[in-house]
């Protein structure tokens, strides 16, 4: 693994931390005061900062640092996370996300915005309460070059220590000077895992050194506490380094010892205490085991060696040796005890490491493609066996059935690998709600449900754009201004609810607002003005609501007079349909609107009904079919010149000849000779699609028609059947729409402008 790969991991981790950060802040916003929530939020920023520091991403580090400092105030209860405070923090989270993106992909962030937030965050950390309208203040923040260089850079510099008072001595030491060091460890030094011998070893690396070990405090063996620190050392050190370097050696031990460092007085021949230059062989502490004794006893570490070494020089050799022996004994015992535990630990580590792995998406896609081929191949094999073995009893046949089962299971398992929770997309929406609400001066809460509902990654990726658009619409047009809401007797704060759930093999996403609902009068008028419906058209409420999805219903400049919705909803609908999904709206005036999207869980395979229409083989997605029936002549009613209805259990349903709609034939087929597929279209209405015959039900691998050929109206995609033939997959909604009188026209011919941006 190289640094680039680690950097990639860092950015992945950032995404997770940012999600964690946002959801934590939102929880706090909802009144959650669990310290663990605050901690998690703090940790998220802290982690980003830590990683960013390692990669020298200074902008990210600076911003994260300021953010972290303010969060630390919340964590230590110095700052109350009021809604105003959280507003600043949520915005900071957004900027942090932007900074991460900029660090990854290059590009820049809105510098004025981030500087403004830095100021706000610092103000919060300093105990200043946020101004009521933070938004404008942030925008007004001067792009002064006096941008608050986010606090102390030194916070991150690995500066060991500085003893300013000793600066002048550094110069003296340049030529090399002699120091006298008195070092007396306390027992805490050892209990914290520091080791006097190692400190002395490090000290010896600074220059020439002689040591005197003061063992006066050592009691008799029977009174000795093995954990007490009895020794003190006097060291003379000749070094070219400064006192600071000497102190640095004791950096970790400083609190737990008495340490005196001073320049030796020049000449003092008669020392009170004779300084015996001892052969303190510190090299014994270095790692490479040289002697046989050491390799025999690998776990007896520095403590023993050091003690032994010291023992040679000390007076109480015997006493010390016995201490050393005891230490060695204890260590040996512990080493022995450790052995069986290691095996247990290894298995534990293995099991905990097996929770998740990260796999390159390309590898999964390759696997999925191969499985797709396998499915087709298996179908072909089955087909040819059936053709050659009419009885269907041979063992090959049975084996094939098992193969089919297995293939299906492999396919499901592979699909499950790609399945991801919709959470990331939902989380992105909360930022959009915040930003747009801020822009239009509304107060809106986003409630999400079912974030852990899983769906194919491709679906998730493609869901973000239409969803963003709809959320913007809901905030901008759906929810009323606080004044209007209050006048209508509602809470001034609007609520948008985003829900995801699984239903019958599809994912259902609902976007619900508690706004004013669709203004049907205006929508209807607009549709008439735009020649979408006849002036005297008699439409149900539902049909009026669904007008907003019609292409050409609205353009950005006209929509501003409409208090309802409609900015480019046809684009949204097209995106959803491109995913093999359906979208519908239901609205209650004064109570809000609900958009319902139903999407396939995967874009790779489809359960379909294989049918024959005018000699062509077509596949109808099974999810669209409510039931199939054999029409009887008595149930068919003609209606006008070209329309026919079928009566099903006392209700009438328009009969649509698929062959006629797709222009496979010039005149309508006789319904009695065919089969009717009762389908439910996205508007909720039912249609009976007439096909000539049903061949069977099959799982098919979806092959994009757009990618391989071009978009064909009324056709969603293609597939390869078991006999090798290409079959077209019917776009049921398009066919139903065509039956309403709209001609099937190439949708690509529509205005290519993307009104998605217009909503913002």
């Amino acid at each position: 693994m190289d640094m680039n790969e680690i950097k990639e991991i860092f950015f992945q981790e950032c995404e997770e931390q940012l999600a964690e950060l946002e959801s934590g802040l939102l929880k706090l916003n909802d009144g959650d005061r669990d310290p663990e929530t605050v901690n998690a939020v703090f940790r998220a920023v802290h982690s980003i900062k830590g990683g960013a520091g390692a990669f020298g991403l200074d902008d990210l580090v600076s911003f994260a640092h300021v953010f972290e400092t303010t969060l630390d105030c919340v964590r230590s209860n110095r700052l109350e996370p009021t809604p105003d405070v959280l507003k600043v923090m949520l915005k900071s989270a957004d900027v942090l996300a932007d900074l991460v993106t900029a660090s990854r992909d290059g590009g820049s962030v809105d510098a004025a915005r981030s500087r403004g937030l830095v100021k706000e965050l610092e103000a919060l950390a300093n105990g200043e309460l946020p101004a009521p309208s933070v938004h404008t203040e942030a925008a007004a923040a001067k792009p002064a070059e006096a941008a608050p260089q986010p606090t102390d850079e030194s916070g991150f510099q690995p500066i060991p220590f500085s003893f300013d008072g000793f600066d002048e001595e550094d110069e003296v030491t340049l030529e090399g000077s002699a120091y006298e060091i008195v070092f007396k460890p306390r027992r805490e030094l050892y209990s914290k895992g520091n080791e006097a011998a190692l400190l002395l070893r490090d000290l010896s690396r600074l220059g020439e050194m002689s040591i005197h070990c003061d063992t006066d405090a050592l009691p008799a063996l029977d009174q000795m506490d093995p954990e007490e620190a009895y020794f003190a050392w006097k060291i003379s050190l000749k070094t070219t380094r400064g006192e600071e370097d000497i102190r640095t050696v004791f950096e970790f031990a400083e609190w737990d010892c008495d340490l005196e460092v001073k320049l030796a007085e020049p000449a003092r021949p008669d020392e009170e205490q004779p300084m015996v230059p001892v052969p303190f062989d510190l090299s014994i502490l270095d790692e490479t085991p040289t002697s046989e004794e050491e390799s025999e006893e690998p776990s007896a570490s520095g403590i023993v060696a050091a003690t032994l070494a010291a023992a040679e020089t000390a007076t109480n050799v015997t006493r010390l040796a016995s201490v050393a022996a005891r230490v060695a004994e204890r260590q040996e015992a512990s080493a022995a005890a450790a052995a069986p535990a290691i095996a247990a630990q290894n298995t534990a580590a293995a099991s905990s490491a097996g929770q998740t792995i990260r796999v390159d998406l390309d590898r999964v896609d390759r696997l999925i493609n191969l499985v797709g081929e396998l499915v087709i191949n298996q179908a072909m094999l089955s087909q040819s066996v059936i053709e050659n073995d009419a009885t269907g009893t041979s063992s090959i046949n049975m084996g094939l059935e098992e193969l089919q089962q297995l293939t299906r299971e492999i396919q499901d398992s592979v699909m499950a690998i790609r399945a991801q929770p919709v959470k990331p997309v939902f989380q992105r929406m909360s930022r959009i709600v915040r930003e747009v609400a801020d822009m239009v001066g509304k107060s809106i809460r986003l409630v999400t449900e079912g974030e852990n509902t899983e769906v194919d990654k491709t679906v998730i990726d493609k869901l973000a754009e239409p969803l963003t658009h709809m959320i913007r619409n809901a905030v901008d047009h759906g929810i009323e201004t606080p004044e209007k809401r209050e006048a209508a007797g509602k809470s001034p704060e609007g609520t948008i609810k985003l829900t995801a759930k699984h239903r019958s093999g599809r994912i259902l996403i609902e976007l619900q607002d508690d706004g004013a609902g669709i203004n049907r009068e205006r929508v209807r008028q607009k549709a008439i003005d735009n020649d979408l419906i006849a002036a005297d058209a008699n439409l149900t409420d539902d049909e009026i609501d669904n007008l907003i999805f019609m292409p050409g219903f609205s353009t950005a400049d006209k929509i501003s007079d409409i208090s309802g919705r409609g900015v480019g909803m046809d684009v949204v609908k097209r995106s959803i349909q491109a995913l093999g999904g359906r979208i519908s709206i239901s609205s209650r005036p004064g109570h809000g609107s609900t958009f319902t999207m139903s999407l396939p869980l995967t874009l790779a395979v489809l359960d379909g009904m294989v049918v024959t229409v005018a000699g062509q083989t077509l596949v109808v997605p099974l999810t669209a079919i409510v039931e199939t029936l054999q029409p009887e002549a008595s149930a068919i009613h003609s209606f006008g010149a070209n329309h026919r209805l079928i009566s099903i259990r006392n209700s009438f349903c328009p009969l649509v000849d698929v062959g006629r709609i797709l222009n496979f034939r010039a005149i309508q087929a006789n319904p009695v000779e065919g089969v009717a597929l009762l389908v439910e279209s996205e508007g909720g209405g039912q249609r009976a699609l007439m096909v000539d015959a049903i061949q069977g039900q099959r799982q098919v691998v979806i092959k994009s028609l757009e990618a391989n050929y071009t978009h064909v109206p009324g056709i969603a995609a293609a597939t390869i059947l078991g006999d090798g033939r290409v079959a077209l997959i019917l776009d049921v909604d398009a066919v139903v729409a065509a039956s309403r009188g709209q001609a099937l026209k190439p949708e690509l011919a529509l205005k290519p402008e993307m009104p998605l941006a217009a909503a913002g």
Binding site: M1, I9, E195, I342, Q345
Partner: protein
């Protein structure tokens, strides 16, 4: 014999950097993602030195250090605190909990190895 280092850090990025740095320097590396896992892994891991983060879910670095120091078998193992918090208060708390030393993030590999060498024989 290779020296064995147990690292405890919740950040995948930092874990990977530690792993690469330590392996390149010839250490054997065992990793845990938080204090709780750190204490679990510790049993039987027999590390020569422990490197731990402070801010972690479930059990933070302070709690982890205290846990190690309470463990009869490992209470003398050197523990280095790896954290961006360079302020004295955090260091003091870590020391009170029983940390041997610290490494200020962002660590550079040389500093990390140096600190480990300082506390191990």
């Amino acid at each position: 014999m290779k020296k064995k280092v147990l690292t405890v850090d919740d950040s995948r990025t930092i874990r990977n950097m530690l792993l690469v740095t330590l392996n390149n320097a010839g250490f054997e590396t065992i990793q845990a993602e938080d204090g709780v896992e750190g204490l679990e892994v510790l049993e039987g891991a027999n590390p020569d030195v422990i490197v731990t983060d402070i801010n972690m879910p479930r059990l933070d670095g302070f709690g982890f250090i205290e846990g190690v120091r309470r463990n009869e078998k490992y209470r003398a193992v050197p523990i280095l605190v790896l954290t961006t918090e360079s302020d004295q208060e955090k260091k003091n708390r870590a020391r009170q909990a029983g940390a041997t030393g610290w490494i200020v993030k962002p660590f550079d590999p040389a500093k990390l190895i140096d600190a480990i060498e300082r506390v191990t024989a």
